[in-house]
């Protein structure tokens, strides 16, 4: 059933994302062509001036729009399709609440990743020239050098943790928003206000609790000694990388614990305290 829900979720969301991607890529390509042929430098009077200001601002707007759209879809697909009148259909389908929540979250995660890839492609299209190729070669060389010095496994681990932090960071934000909206729908009159209140509350309270736990419980000498006592050699690349990897791992664990908490409370509210308009 989850695959069926995903099918309809992607159908519903692709209407928004695909045109946005198209605008971004087309604007990027036009800008590239303009730059390539030195169009902006040629004296073509008002026309080139107008185009020279329209295309870059269109491109900038498209980049911003993609990320705004991703965030708006994250919020609205949950708010409208589950907690709005479409919820009357979704919550009477023979599926369970977890599947409903996951279908929304998986779709928005896929779009968020795709948005970043499309954004990256646009940037590459724009800046692609010999300097860029040299820059990439240098970067690859640097990574190779780091692998030799710090051990390939440490570098690979660093990249894996970076990617995982990005992915679970998105899921964490998604589930936090879902939880806030679910708390908001408990109110009969001020849903939006309650959701915003929940968002502020969760962020302030939870961040402070986690900070307190980290600084007072975890990172004391007893459990995890502070990094300068951990034995990491902060003078060498290996030591710094190992330390960074350890910190990222700890951060990742916290992010995952948080998102699980968000998910299960959301599931509980939608299963037991559903209050559709």
């Amino acid at each position: 059933m989850l695959s069926k829900l995903l099918k309809y979720e992607f159908k519903a969301t692709s209407r928004v994302f695909l045109p946005a991607y198209a605008v971004l890529l087309i604007a990027g390509a036009i800008q590239k062509i303009m730059l390539q042929f030195g169009f902006y430098n040629k004296d073509m009077g008002v026309f080139s001036k107008i185009l020279g200001s329209i295309v870059p601002s269109l491109l900038g707007a498209a980049v911003v729009a993609i990320f705004v759209v991703t965030l708006v879809v994250m919020i609205n697909r949950f708010r409208k399709s589950l907690l709005g009148r479409e919820g009357y259909l979704m919550f009477t389908l023979p599926v369970n609440t977890s599947q409903l929540i996951l279908s929304k979250a998986i779709a928005v995660l896929a779009w968020a990743i795709l948005s970043c890839i499309i954004g990256l492609i646009t940037v590459v299209i724009l800046v692609y020239d010999t300097d860029f190729v040299n820059f990439v070669n240098d970067a690859i060389g640097l990574v190779g050098e780091a692998s030799r010095q710090a051990g390939a496994s440490n570098v690979v681990l660093f990249f894996i943790e970076t990617v995982l932090t990005f992915i679970f960071g998105i899921v964490n934000l998604t589930f936090m928003i879902y939880l806030c909206l679910s708390i908001g729908q408990l109110s009969n009159k001020h849903r939006g206000l309650c959701a915003i209140g929940a968002f502020v509350g969760i962020n302030f309270v939870l961040r402070n609790i986690i900070l307190a736990i980290i600084s007072n419980v975890l990172f004391t000498d007893k459990f995890v000694p502070p990094f300068y006592l951990c034995g990491y050699d902060t003078e060498s690349i290996v030591g710094i990388l190992q330390m960074m990897n350890a910190f990222m791992l700890a951060g990742l664990v916290i992010v995952i614990i948080e998102l699980l908490i968000y998910f299960f409370i959301t599931k509980y509210i939608l299963s037991n305290k559903l209050n559709l308009e």
Binding site: K4, S81, Y88, F91, P94, L276
Partner: protein, 233 residues
């Protein structure tokens, strides 16, 4: 198969301090068309939403064909809400496909046939349909299922009298001895002719649950007439 298609025992629900359902006890047999009749705000919609799992009761127990409220009960309930729940961007055929995907008991041919009868084009976007036509599409979807319990909340409120007749006919011709249809409405005179039983609900309490024939005999008036007497303002 259980004797009763629906059993509610001691179902209560409060919104804040306001009691909207008070100790509802109800048993519905199979093969009946039942009117759930009551004035506005009497608890009709709340009861239907609880049976559907859209709301949770504060107290009490509900069994649909012996199943607790959950995925299994949702498989055998066909629900028409009192509002349109269709996503505007979909085409009629998209939502038909969606029902076909999710409900095993859905008959695509039946839905397509009814859409044709009511002159609704499957390629039309739901956004472009009138309110009445949207309601018709929803009712067609709901009645194209071979469910055990149909819960129709105000099914004829927004459509013209001609379509009303077609809809009521659809409900009767869909008759299945294993299934029951609950129609919640306050337009009693329109539905009276198709009803087997009537449930009067007022202020969250069931005040009467009898066969329509018994009502007519006992009180020597129509269900509509008796309703007006009971709920006189």
């Amino acid at each position: 198969m259980t004797e009763f298609v629906l059993e509610c025992t001691g179902v209560s629900k409060k919104y804040g301090k306001k009691e909207v359902l008070k100790n509802i006890n109800l048993q519905l047999e199979r093969g009946k068309i039942i009117g759930l009749l009551g004035p506005n705000g009497s608890g009709k919609t709340t009861l239907i939403k609880i049976i559907n799992g859209l709301l949770t009761a504060d107290e009490g127990d509900i069994k649909v064909s012996g199943e607790q409220i959950g995925i299994e009960s949702k498989k055998i309930i066909s629900y028409l809400p009192d509002r349109t729940y269709l996503a505007d961007w979909m085409k009629v055929k998209d939502i038909v496909g969606m029902f076909d995907d999710f409900y095993k008991d859905f008959s695509r041919e039946k839905a397509e046939d009814m859409l044709k009868r009511l002159n609704i084009n499957e390629d039309d976007r739901l956004k472009t349909l009138s309110k009445g036509n949207k309601e018709k599409v929803q009712l067609i979807l709901v009645m194209s299922r071979q469910a055990q319990l149909y819960l129709l909340d105000e099914p004829i409120g927004g459509v013209d009298p001609a379509a009303r007749d077609y809809i009521l006919n659809t409900i009767i011709t869909n008759y299945n001895p294993d299934a029951s249809v609950v129609i919640s409405t306050h337009l009693i005179s329109d539905v009276e002719k198709v009803l087997d039983e009537a449930i009067f609900i007022n202020n969250g309490e069931i005040v009467l649950h009898e066969s329509v024939d018994d009502i007519r005999e006992k009180y020597s008036t129509s269900v509509d007439g008796y309703f007006r007497e009971v709920f006189k303002c």
